[in-house]
């Protein structure tokens, strides 16, 4: 009897601490700044417990049933706390309000628990023993929870399910208490039914935990990860959800198989179709082979050279069945030559000439990548471009990063080319921009390869028109010694994510 009583003290304490840890972790996870989050969550939780302890003096009668009732409320609020926080973050502006509201409510209720419990059992033991036993088990419960949380709960259950699971434990303790204190409870049956309802609710939540996470958690890797590797150069992650395959490089989405054809058709055909007899094509970046797939739709093309830094990337897209299905085994074509090299260095040392060059690099998120968007880089392209040649540059979003986009246009111009910027809508990315450039005048092509899923000759013309919200803004060019683009890009995307 006594042992069971004190085990329930241990469990209550463990539950209390788990909710607190979950609140701190969810806040750190979603908002960042973990030191601040944990400090303020723990602080307000402990303070609220103090309020609870203080309030316990105003409860004079019906201690036992009130105790059970408080347990049930804690079970509900605590059990759903994690799910509530994720939903609040996903669907409201007021995450901190929810966070501290939940923390304070839980703190007050948990603060009430121990003083009430001590008063309930004070007649059974000496006061000395009550204090000693209750507090001992209280602290053991805390240790138990603090070890269980990082070692078992977070890795195996996740934050949403851990909270629900401990909500059930809490409710079970409530149910158990109705038997422990049945002599002190006027209507134990009613309370037991109530306990049952709470447990059913929590179990239902647990069964649907994944749906709650899926609904709320804007985790970029929400889908099933089918491939993940840290190569020498980057972190490659491939996810799949039903028929949607997504590639992430260093957590940046590269394509979604549902609409990548829009991106790649628009990248390749407006320029390549305008070259009268394209024989030699160069692709810089584009280790997924999807641009090469589009290039291979031109029978006149005799050779495609692809320069990508990462051999693991090109190997993956030459061998993985899902991926070769996507790029239609582009890398296995005898016309395709893969070179794994640093693009800038390769350009500087190679003498080769091409009729069309596709520049498909990651966005200029740092100074290293920014070098690939400079006047010097585009000038280096000139030596590799045949008389009839054009090149095209993937140029981030003219909608979300408007200044960055027009900065790239200006940079290509200052390198001495005529530019023909255009844009398309790619659902996975939003409005996306390209800069087509050459040393002679560009006329949109009269025909396109057959079998395209998105691009039409009629649609081509509209792509070169920029509505006012994406229209040109005056920007300086991006230089190796003054990378305006990287600063602008960082600033623009930061504004959007806040």
């Amino acid at each position: 009897m006594a042992v069971l009583l004190f085990i329930s003290v241990l469990l209550i304490a463990a539950c209390g601490l788990i909710y607190e840890l979950i609140a701190g972790t969810v806040a750190s996870y979603l908002v960042g700044d973990s030191v601040f989050q944990f400090s303020t969550v723990i602080g307000s939780y402990l303070f609220a417990m103090g309020i609870g302890s203080f309030l316990s003096r105003y409860i004079h009668r019906g201690l036992a049933w009130r105790f059970v009732f408080i347990e049930l409320v804690v079970a509900l609020v605590g059990g759903f706390s994690s799910a509530l926080l994720f939903l609040a973050f996903a669907f409201t502006q007021g995450f901190p309000i929810f966070l501290y509201l939940i923390v304070i409510v839980l703190g007050i209720l948990v603060g009430l628990e121990i003083p009430l419990l001590m008063r309930i059992i004070r007649h059974r033991y000496h006061f000395r023993e009550v204090v000693s036993h209750v507090l001992t088990f209280d602290y053991i419960g805390a240790l138990f929870a603090s070890i269980l949380f990082p070692v078992v709960l977070v890795p195996y259950l996740g934050l949403v399910k851990s909270a629900l699971f401990f909500g059930i434990v809490n409710a079970a303790v409530a149910l158990w208490s109705t038997f422990l204190f049945k002599t002190q409870i006027p209507y134990p049956r009613r309370l037991q039914v109530l306990c049952g309802i709470v447990i059913v609710l929590l179990v239902a939540g647990l069964a649907n935990g994944k749906r709650i996470t899926g609904l709320a958690e804007e985790n970029i890797y929400a889908d099933e990860i089918i491939f993940s590797r840290d190569t020498h150069y980057q972190h490659i992650v491939l996810t799949r959800w039903k028929d949607d395959l997504r590639l992430f490089l260093n957590s940046h989405l590269q394509f979604s198989s549902r609409d990548e054809y829009r991106y790649h058709e628009a990248l390749v055909h407006p320029g390549l179709s305008a070259v009268s007899t394209p024989r030699r094509v160069l692709v810089l970046g584009g280790g997924d082979g999807l641009a090469v797939r589009e290039v291979l739709k031109y029978p006149q093309v005799e050779s495609v050279t692809l320069v990508d830094l990462d051999p693991e990337m090109t190997r993956l897209f030459s061998t993985h069945p899902f991926l070769t299905a996507l790029n239609q085994k582009a890398f296995l074509s005898p016309k395709v030559h893969i070179i794994n090299a640093d693009a800038f260095l390769w350009l500087d040392s190679s003498p080769e000439i091409f009729d069309f060059i596709i520049v498909d690099f990651p966005d200029p998120t740092n100074y290293s990548l920014g070098k690939l968007y400079t006047t010097v880089f585009y000038s280096a392209l000139r030596r590799h471009l045949s008389q009839q040649g054009f090149f095209v540059v993937q140029s981030t979003s003219p909608m979300f990063a408007r200044k960055s986009f027009w900065c790239i246009v200006e940079t290509v111009q200052q390198a001495g080319f005529s530019t023909y910027p255009y844009h398309v809508y790619v659902p996975a990315f939003g409005e996306w921009g390209y800069v087509l450039a050459g040393e002679h005048e560009y006329q949109p092509p009269q025909s396109l390869p057959r079998g395209l899923r998105f691009l039409t000759t009629a649609g081509l013309h509209g792509m070169f028109d920029f509505p006012p919200d994406m229209a040109q803004v005056p920007m300086p060019a991006n230089h190796l010694n003054d990378q305006v683009l990287v600063r602008t890009y960082d600033h623009e995307w930061r504004e959007i994510s806040h």
Partner: protein, 504 residues
């Protein structure tokens, strides 16, 4: 099989050795390019073996640093090829020497040239010859890539070396006031690069007090500002502001226009310029040829170097001027030529240390460190991905007397300096020891001339500068400021004067 106690102990010891190897990775390295042995032979007036051959040649250049190489460049451009350049080291270049390993080339000392202004006529001419300046534009490949500089202050990196983080309004006001004062000095036209173009008696009084005194006198007491001024003096002159002539301090801040976003730099620093010059004038250069005596005989100079005696009509003395009394017969001791001792190190990094958020820059400085920080040799690479690099670590031993610091450089072994360097870098890169595989250290007792109080307008200096009897001094120390432009200016000027003398 039973393990005996002896075997068990041996295993244990082996395990311990294994562990200690793992926890403290071995870092290789040595002292490189030491030249004090040769210097001390001159100082101690040691006997050298008698020459085995005599070469008759119109002109000899002594010293293959930037001054000597620039003199050779000028002579060749004038169509004069009847000369040799004698260099005591195996590698020419002087303070523009460079090194190379499997990762990259890297500098041993001078590592940049600010974008030259209109006054630096010869520098612009050279850079036009080298293709750095084309059609009125600087080749962007040679302008320092973005981000150029950063400073570690208040526990994090800020962009730029001038302190900006957590300045008080008072600090800001002083920075602004200093900027205004310097703008006025700049507008006066008295502070130019090369210094010879604009220097005038109008500002001679600045040479009579130290830069630190000048700052105090003008009410500057902001701590970040004073740190920055001391850093500038240590960086350019190897001296504290208290040991620098106020004229030189003002010159540092007011001699350049801020028009181009520079400076010009290369992975091997000014070694790139040295390499380009050597590609043109290398055929005149004789290395491992230390000039140990220059004797004047009526209309002839006898220049002794290695196993050869050169008999020539003219000498361009491009070696540091303080060597003159030890080399040239009947030269009195010099009193106004002071030099700062330096130490530089090249660290081979097999992986890139954690940068804690700040984007790695070309020049990386830590506030309140006694050293000058490090420069990343891979910064100027077009590569988008670098997983290995070489850092050049700069340390002007500015605190204390130069003589005592020279002694320290000689006395302490490689491990001592290695530890000092790693300890300094550990302030900002906790994982530095895990990344470094090699540290080569170069000690220079007389690394650069020091513009001490009174030295810019020193009568002794102008006498040496004006020497007109077919022996022409050419080292940058004639200006009292050790920078590429001064070395080149004096090298070219000496070459012109020698040509003039030879044609008469």
């Amino acid at each position: 099989m039973k393990t005996t106690r002896r075997e068990f102990c041996a295993l244990g010891a082996a395990a311990l050795v294994g562990l200690s190897l793992k926890s403290d990775r071995a870092i290789a390295g040595e002292f490189v390019n030491d030249s004090f042995q040769m210097g001390h032979m001159l100082r101690d007036r040691r006997q050298f073996p008698a020459p085995r051959q005599i070469v008759r040649i119109p002109l000899v250049i002594a010293g293959g640093g930037m001054a000597g190489l620039s003199a050779a460049w000028r002579l060749q451009k004038r169509g004069f090829t009847d000369f040799v350049l004698l260099e005591m080291n195996q590698q020419p270049g002087g303070n523009s020497r460079w090194g190379e390993n499997q990762i990259t080339r890297y500098p041993w000392a001078a590592h940049y040239v600010p974008v030259p202004g209109k006054e630096a006529e010869y520098v612009r001419e050279l850079f036009t010859d080298l293709g750095v300046f084309k059609d009125g534009k600087w080749d962007e490949r040679y302008l320092c890539f973005d981000p150029q500089e950063r400073l570690y202050v208040h526990g994090r990196w800020q962009e730029g070396i001038e302190p900006e983080a957590e300045l008080t309004p008072g600090d800001r006001e002083q920075f602004r006031r200093l900027g205004d004062l310097m703008q006025a000095f700049r507008a006066s036209g008295g502070f130019t690069v090369p210094l010879e173009i604009g220097i005038s008696q109008r500002h001679a009084e600045l040479d009579r007090l130290s830069f630190a005194e000048w700052l105090t006198k003008n009410g500057f007491n902001s701590r970040p500002l004073l740190w920055y001024m001391n850093y500038a003096c240590r960086d350019d002159y190897g001296a504290l502001a208290a040991d620098t002539s106020a004229w030189a301090g003002v010159h540092y801040l007011s001699s350049r226009q801020k028009e181009e976003k520079g400076p010009l730099t290369w992975p091997e620093g000014n070694g790139w310029i040295a390499r380009q010059l050597l590609a043109r004038v290398g055929k005149f250069v004789r290395t491992d040829q230390m000039v140990y005596r220059i004797q004047r005989e009526r209309n002839l100079f006898r220049v002794f170097a290695g196993d050869t005696e050169y008999r020539c009509d003219c000498v361009v003395f491009a070696a540091p001027t303080f060597l003159a009394p030890y080399l040239i017969d009947n030269t009195p001791q010099l009193h106004d030529f002071h030099y700062s001792p330096w130490l530089t190190a090249n660290l081979t990094l097999d992986s890139i240390p954690d940068t804690h958020g700040g984007a790695p820059a070309w020049d990386n400085v830590v506030m309140d460190s006694p050293t000058l920080g490090y420069v990343d040799a891979m910064h100027q690479s077009l590569r988008t991905f670098a997983d290995r690099t070489v850092w050049t670590f700069y340390w002007a031993l500015a605190e204390g007397a130069p003589g005592a610091n020279r002694q320290l450089l000689l006395e302490k072994d490689w491990s001592y300096w290695k530890e000092a360097i790693l300890t300094d870098l550990e302030r900002v890169h906790k994982d530095i020891r895990k990344c470094v595989s090699r540290i080569d250290i170069m000690r220079m007792g007389h690394a650069m001339v020091r513009p001490a109080v009174g030295s810019i307008f020193s009568p002794e200096r102008s006498r040496i500068k004006r020497a007109a009897d077919r022996l022409y001094f050419a080292n940058s120390d004639l200006s009292g400021i050790s920078i590429f432009e001064e070395a080149q200016y004096h090298g070219v000027t000496a070459a012109e004067r020698a040509l003039h003398a030879l044609s008469h």
